[in-house]
Symmetry: C2
Subunit: 139 residues, 2 copies
């Protein structure tokens, strides 16, 4: 059995690209710039279900994206979290937070309902993330 | 200037030990088994403020503790998160979650008020964590 993305993650986010065996996705919620990193490992629910190498690569990628997002979206704080209380398939959140955003200073998870992106904003965000990952260009 | 722990982190948690340059602390909240890992790096607020080596060691430690906590405290899920919207000094949460706990399935941050540990429970938890870190013994 190959890896199958949880339907709830699939329905609430959009694939940007894969970096080796990690899916990089954009969450469908215009309230935040919110990425999901999902290792394509069958049955993984906790960080300790990953190999050391994959865990290191996952957090290197999250950190790299977080550093870029802080600058590119003039964020006040980056939140990086593996929660998974509702959707246990392992997924790592990388979120650019701003003072005064919908949930600030609380956590975003479980706070209100997602607000869909416009088609233009969705494509723009996907393109920005893809371009950063391809080129390391933060511009 | 050496590293100084933020007063809010100091007042709400107890030092168990240091693993190299990372403080391992127990949060003063009997609602959850909740650890804090704090790299002693002056000015660090984001994961991208750490060296790659320290970041890898921080998540290796968090993952190791999370794996132990899941078994030792029969947790349903481990939550590992760097949030820091209120206290920007970089601190990583490692929390054992149980179905039906005070905030389940929501995140614990900003949910109600902490409930102090009894002196006995506090010492027992500190001893358990210290023993695991010294011996790797999950018993």
């Amino acid at each position: 059995m190959g890896f199958t993305l949880d339907r709830r993650l699939e329905d609430s986010s959009h694939l940007v690209t894969r970096i080796d065996d990690i899916q990089v996705r954009v969450a469908e919620d215009s309230r935040y710039v919110w990425l999901l990193l999902i290792p394509e490992i069958v049955g993984a629910e906790e960080l300790h279900d990953l190999s050391d190498d994959l865990r290191d690569r996952l957090f290197a990628l999250a950190t790299n994206l977080g550093g870029w997002m802080k600058t590119a979206f003039t964020a006040d704080k980056i939140n990086i979290a593996a929660i998974g209380n509702l959707v246990p398939q392992l997924h790592l959140h990388v979120v650019a937070r701003h003072r005064g955003d919908a949930a600030w200073p609380g956590p975003i998870w479980g706070h209100g309902d997602p607000v869909p992106l416009t088609a233009t904003d969705r494509q723009s965000l996907i393109t920005s993330v893809a371009t950063f990952l391809e080129t390391g260009d933060t511009g």
